[in-house]
Symmetry: C2
Subunit: 139 residues, 2 copies
DNA sequence: AGCTTCTAGTAAGCCAGGTTGACCAAAAGG
DNA sequence: CCTTTTGGTCAACCTGGCTTACTAGAAGCT
């Protein structure tokens, strides 16, 4: 496993499945990590789908798909923006907020689980490295 | 982007698309990173599909699918194992080896590209961290 | 006012990279 | 022999996206 690329891929997939499993075990059936990331970017007053899309670095189409999915699961409501009749505001429901809090717990748990092989200082190093690698979009 | 999980996911996806694009640019149309990982585990004398599956940590089904795909693209040949009539040996063709060499170049290029934001010593640290995180399968 | 351009979102379909479950045939072990 | 294990297949499904083509409404310019 000397290829960094492969290591990153493996790490990613393990975390993803572990997270989705953990949500299911806590009773959030069919909730996934990408739902959580979507919720993360949403604020209480409601956020436009296209703002969510650009915050997540994805397409409007995918944002719309996720939004419908989250709405059908009762995690968010979708309402028209009164100030712009094209726009749609996504706002978390009580259930959505409850799920989000649980998801944060799961994240903390999993991250500490995953990172428990490293000493605290190496965790810091690792996170800093990742931020540097991913942070400022190149080009 | 303070979540390590999300950073890892982003990093992974960026590398994957960059790799697949690079293969296409070099004329290897429809070749992907997962094909390369498959080739990586194959030796010249031929390797059983199930050995490949376990080496890659995936299922026999997926290994079979990848194998057919690689065969149809002319990267490998599939022949029955003379010593076990159930088994199938995957062996790289000349074209497969040529692609693999190109893919190694791509990998080197991309990795140095991705890691160029870090100083050499930090690269070493990063790779070591990944190995520790992913290496010995937990549980 | 009118025209153009930009922006918010939708529809439909494709792709990569997998997984699960049910099955079959050959091999290995008693 | 008979049972269990192993190597592989088929078919269906899932997650997490992307592309292309489109419409409705907003904004800016003249």
């Amino acid at each position: 496993m000397s290829s960094p690329a492969r290591a990153v891929a493996t790490l990613y997939r393990r975390f993803q499945t572990a997270a989705n499993d953990a949500y299911a075990r806590r009773g959030w059936k069919d909730a996934t990590l990408s739902h959580v990331q979507f919720l993360t970017e949403m604020d209480e007053e409601g956020t436009r789908l296209s703002d969510l899309a650009s915050a997540l670095g994805t397409t409007k189409q995918y944002a719309g798909k996720l939004a419908k999915d989250l709405e059908s699961k009762g995690f968010i409501t979708l309402t028209g923006d009164p100030t712009d009749r094209r726009a749609i505001l996504a706002k978390p429901t009580a259930r959505g907020r409850a799920f989000y809090e649980d998801a944060c717990d799961v994240r903390t748990e999993l991250e500490s689980d995953f990172l428990s092989r490293l000493s605290p200082s190496r965790v810091t190093t690792f996170v800093a490295l990742l931020d540097d690698l991913v942070g400022p979009q190149r080009q």
